[in-house]
């Protein structure tokens, strides 16, 4: 995507300005989105993202720029502007690039550059819409979406790294709206992965429609959620957003290096209940948060974050390694060429345990079963987090009683990790987009159903 000698010239120029490290990140991405509404196609969109990100590092300082232009002179001009205050004696020039091609761990066949498969996506979404409407006559509306992206990246740096990768992302979502008089409620089904439209072989439009409709209808009949401190059983799959928000962000060296994480000085210490072991894994085949190499050119890996309650690793990018002394974990990620890379999560999950669902519910006198979770956010400095329950049930005397709505769970990372007392066996992963300093990147969250003994539930009841 960029002439080799242009990359050489630009990196040499960065070193001549006195930078300790210079990097060129080139991206060209094809995107496609098919949207349906009211049982018909609402919009088909497509585009080309193209740009070049330039990173210069002077000590602990990161200088970053980007442009859509490929001319060496324009790239050098941005470098000069970046280094205006930092220019110093030149560093030794680049010796030579050592090209390496990463192992292809995540095969894709129906890729966007071969065919956008618009007809097939429309057919799938309209069949899902029909299934949702057939599942309940309370379904008044659906919104369907299939997004696909083919991201080509090429990375050069002053340590001789030259590598390329292609990432194929696909995601399908159906939202159903149930209505009864003035009351409206939503339900959603979503799946995705690091693969092409061959995902169609694994997604059944009837299941898609049925599940979105089921959630919407449950929520339509939901009562106000009781509030106060109580035990909560959190469902599998996207329930793992609790760990993502409560702990994952706090283990990124982006926060750790700034001492803006409550865990920054806790390596090797017990930070969670011993029922908790947690992993961040970029190697899982075709999973949404997987990668072959990170956006700094390092091969991906499986990183054990917590083992039986003890903190065993942070998520470390290149700058994080320099600032904290911990080894890189292949976690340098960015949304696009518009962002400098930062330490980010991949597929992050609590490993399964052996508790029974019935035992978890049976142990609760008064609490909540949060079957489906929505999004949330965290303040890394204090560990305070919140997230929304999108399908919840009130539990009393060890039995699920009735659906509840508009519930929020809030706590702090350190507190909730110590309150996870039981972890089940029904492990699964779910897709999400995680927003942080280097933009929105695809990440999976995951867990088996688990029990938190004590957490603040906000509701209207």
């Amino acid at each position: 995507m960029l002439e080799l000698n242009t990359a050489e010239t630009v990196i040499d120029h960065g070193l001549s300005l006195g930078a300790d490290f210079a990097e060129v990140f080139v991206e060209r991405s094809l995107t496609s989105a098919v949207n349906t509404l009211s049982s018909q196609v609402q919009a088909v969109e497509s585009g080309i993202d193209f740009g070049i990100g330039l990173r210069l590092v002077f000590g602990a300082k990161v200088l970053y720029g980007y442009t859509n232009k490929t001319a060496a002179d324009e790239l050098k001009r941005i470098m000069i502007e970046l280094a205006a205050k930092d220019q110093r004696d030149p560093r030794l020039g680049l010796v030579a690039f050592d090209f390496s091609s990463p192992e292809e761990r995540h095969p894709a066949t129906r890729t966007l550059s071969l065919d956008a498969d618009v007809e097939s996506k429309v057919a799938y979404l309209l069949a899902s819409d029909s299934a949702a409407r057939a599942a309940s006559n309370l379904i008044s509306q659906t919104r369907g979406m299939c997004r696909q992206k083919e991201q080509h990246v090429e990375i050069f740096n002053s340590e001789g790294c030259h590598t390329r990768d292609v990432r194929n992302y696909v995601r399908a979502t159906l939202t159903a709206i149930a209505a009864d008089g003035q009351e409206q409620a939503t339900g959603m089904w979503s799946d995705g992965g690091l693969l092409g439209w061959e995902i169609r072989e694994h997604v059944d439009p009837k299941k898609t429609g049925d599940e979105a409709a089921r959630q919407a209808v449950v929520n339509l009949g939901a009562k106000a959620c009781p509030s106060g401190r109580m035990p909560v059983v959190i469902g599998n799959g996207f329930g793992g957003v609790i760990f993502h928000e409560a702990c994952g962000h706090l283990l990124e060296t982006t926060s750790v290096a700034k001492k803006a994480s409550v865990f920054h000085d806790k390596m090797g210490e017990m930070i969670a209940n011993e029922a908790v072991s947690a992993v961040d894994d970029g190697t899982m085949v075709n999973e949404w948060g997987s990668i072959n190499i990170d956006d700094e050119g390092m091969e991906t890996q499986r990183t054990q974050l917590i083992k039986e309650g003890r903190l065993t690793s942070f998520l470390v990018d290149r700058m994080g390694a320099e600032q904290t002394g911990f080894d890189r974990t292949g976690s340098g990620r960015r949304e696009s060429y518009k962002y400098a890379p930062a330490s980010r999560m991949r597929n992050t999950f609590i490993e399964p345990g052996d508790a029974d669902f019935d035992d978890m519910i049976g142990s609760i006198d008064r609490g909540i079963f949060a079957a489906q979770m929505g999004g949330g956010s965290v303040q890394p400095g204090t560990g305070e987090f919140n997230f929304a329950v999108t399908e919840g049930y009130y539990v009393e005397d060890g039995k699920i009683q009735y659906p509840v709505k508009a519930a929020t769970l809030i706590s702090t990372g350190p507190a909730v990790l110590k309150e996870i007392s039981m972890v089940g066996r029904d492990f699964s992963l779910a897709c999400g987009m995680c927003g942080s300093v280097s933009g929105a990147v695809p990440t999976s969250v995951g867990q088996a159903t688990l029990k938190v003994d004590d957490i603040l539930v906000g509701g209207q009841g």
Binding site: V44, F50, G65, E183, T382, T408
Partner: protein, 442 residues
């Protein structure tokens, strides 16, 4: 080649294909600086350009975009947009407006010359961090920065429209993390201006520090129902979360709960809310919308009565109305509707009456993107703020949740303050509102 020439070539291809269309060209330059431990931690210089094309052929709409500006990519842009249109359902209401206007924003007003040097901007970033870091109990200043940007949008259509909007903004922000024993707190704030020289480091530093210091001692309060006020940052955020209630597009799509309530009382009779895009002191200023329709002030709620939704030409046509000048479209997105800058008209309550007795002042809400349902109006957010008695802050409050139904709350207004305040982003101008009987869990 000038953007105008590229636009002419692209739109000529559109016409030759028997279609009509409009093209957005966004260009921008930006600077972003962040400090850490007395040094510049990040220095970002960017320039960007993106072309976004919408075509309409046989009543079908297609869009495509390209960040690459080489001839092959721009040719592919036209082909993709036409191909995408071929899959779309016929939309009889979406048209390229017969608008031949030549519009341009006032550079003297929105884009004044920036004479500040890069050194001055770096010095400000370092000063903000250093001054906050030197204060007692401050552990660090993890998020801070100075940003400066020049953005330009050009809009051309096959009908002959040519519109140019250009604006400059410069901003600074900081979040300080304070620690005392087992307690910690992080608070942040920002400032925005069109002139770098108007940014005031000392005011920002003092506000951020005081907010975080106050919040250090924060604790939960007993669950119950309280009279609640949201501060100048949180009240606009709350309206923004539920902005779908004014969307003509959501009404057309059947998901706006207000779609059949035009002319009905939906709020307290003292409440008047308007969208005021021509207020030049705001950063939501817009001379024209993304279809090139000139904007105007529009009352949304007048003395409690819902008077209008916001429309683009397509949603307006669907309901037999004109566009209200609220069409939105980015290079990468299809035609939608959006608000420019909300103004809530001041009421008659003086500060003493507004804050009489016991109130909870909410200064931060979390989980706003996930804890709200704009269809039903229900919300449940994490919150922090202050328990107040007669306007005096008697206890910092954190770790609570505030929950309710926003649409019901609009009718449960106790008092509306007389004085209006901009939020720091200068996107909304609102007085304080005292809501009665709001559920808080501690």
């Amino acid at each position: 080649m000038l953007a105008r020439d590229e636009a002419d070539q692209i739109l000529t291809r559109v016409r030759e294909a028997g279609a009509e269309g409009d093209l957005i060209i966004d260009q921008g330059q930006a600077l972003s600086l962040k400090a850490k431990d007395g040094e510049l931690e990040e220095h970002k210089v960017t320039s960007s350009q993106v072309f976004g094309l919408r075509v309409i052929k046989d009543g079908r709409v297609g869009t495509a975009y390209s960040e690459a500006a080489d001839p092959e990519s721009l040719q592919a842009l036209v082909q993709q947009a036409l191909q995408n249109a071929s899959y779309a359902a016929v939309e009889p209401n979406e048209k390229i407006l017969p608008n031949t206007a030549q519009l341009k924003t006032d550079d003297a007003l929105l884009c004044p010359d920036d004479t500040a040097s890069i050194d001055a901007k770096i010095d400000l970033a370092l000063e903000i961090e250093a001054r906050l870091a030197s204060k007692p109990k401050v552990k660090n200043v993890p998020y801070n920065g100075v940003q400066d940007g020049l953005g330009e949008r050009q809009l051309f259509s096959t009908a002959g429209l040519s519109a140019l909007s250009r604006s400059r903004s410069t901003a600074c922000f900081a979040y300080a993390l304070l620690e005392e024993g087992e307690n910690n707190a992080m608070e942040g704030l920002g400032q925005v201006s069109r002139q770098f020289s108007e940014l005031q480091a000392s005011r920002l530093v003092d506000s951020v520090y005081q907010n975080a210091l106050d919040m250090l001692a924060g604790k939960e309060i007993a669950s119950g129902r309280y009279d609640v006020m949201f501060d100048a940052e949180m009240l606009p955020s709350l309206f923004q979360v539920f902005a779908m209630m004014f969307s003509g597009k959501s009404a057309k799509d059947g998901v706006n709960p207000m779609r059949d309530k035009i002319g009905s009382m939906i709020a307290d009779p003292r409440l008047t809310l308007r969208d005021n895009p021509l207020a030049t002191t705001g950063f939501g200023y817009a001379l024209f919308d993304d279809e090139g329709t000139p904007t105007q002030s529009l009352n949304l709620i007048e003395e409690g009565q819902l008077t209008s939704l916001v429309h683009n030409s397509m949603t307006g046509s669907h309901f037999g109305l004109q566009s209200t000048g609220h069409g939105t479209r980015g290079p990468r997105s299809t035609l939608g509707v959006g608000l420019h800058q909300l103004e809530l008209v001041g009421g008659d309550a003086e500060q003493t009456a507004l804050t009489a007795g016991r109130t909870v002042l909410i200064t931060d809400l979390t989980g706003m993107h996930s804890g709200a349902n704009p269809i039903s109006g229900e919300f449940s957010f994490g919150a922090s703020g202050f328990l107040c008695e007669d306007g005096e802050r008697v206890q910092a409050v954190r770790g609570i949740t505030v929950a309710g139904n926003f649409y019901d709350m609009l009718s449960r207004i106790d008092l509306i303050g007389a004085e209006q305040h901009w939020n720091w982003e200068r996107s909304a101008l609102m007085p304080s509102i005292r809501f009665s009987d709001v559920s808080i869990s501690g």
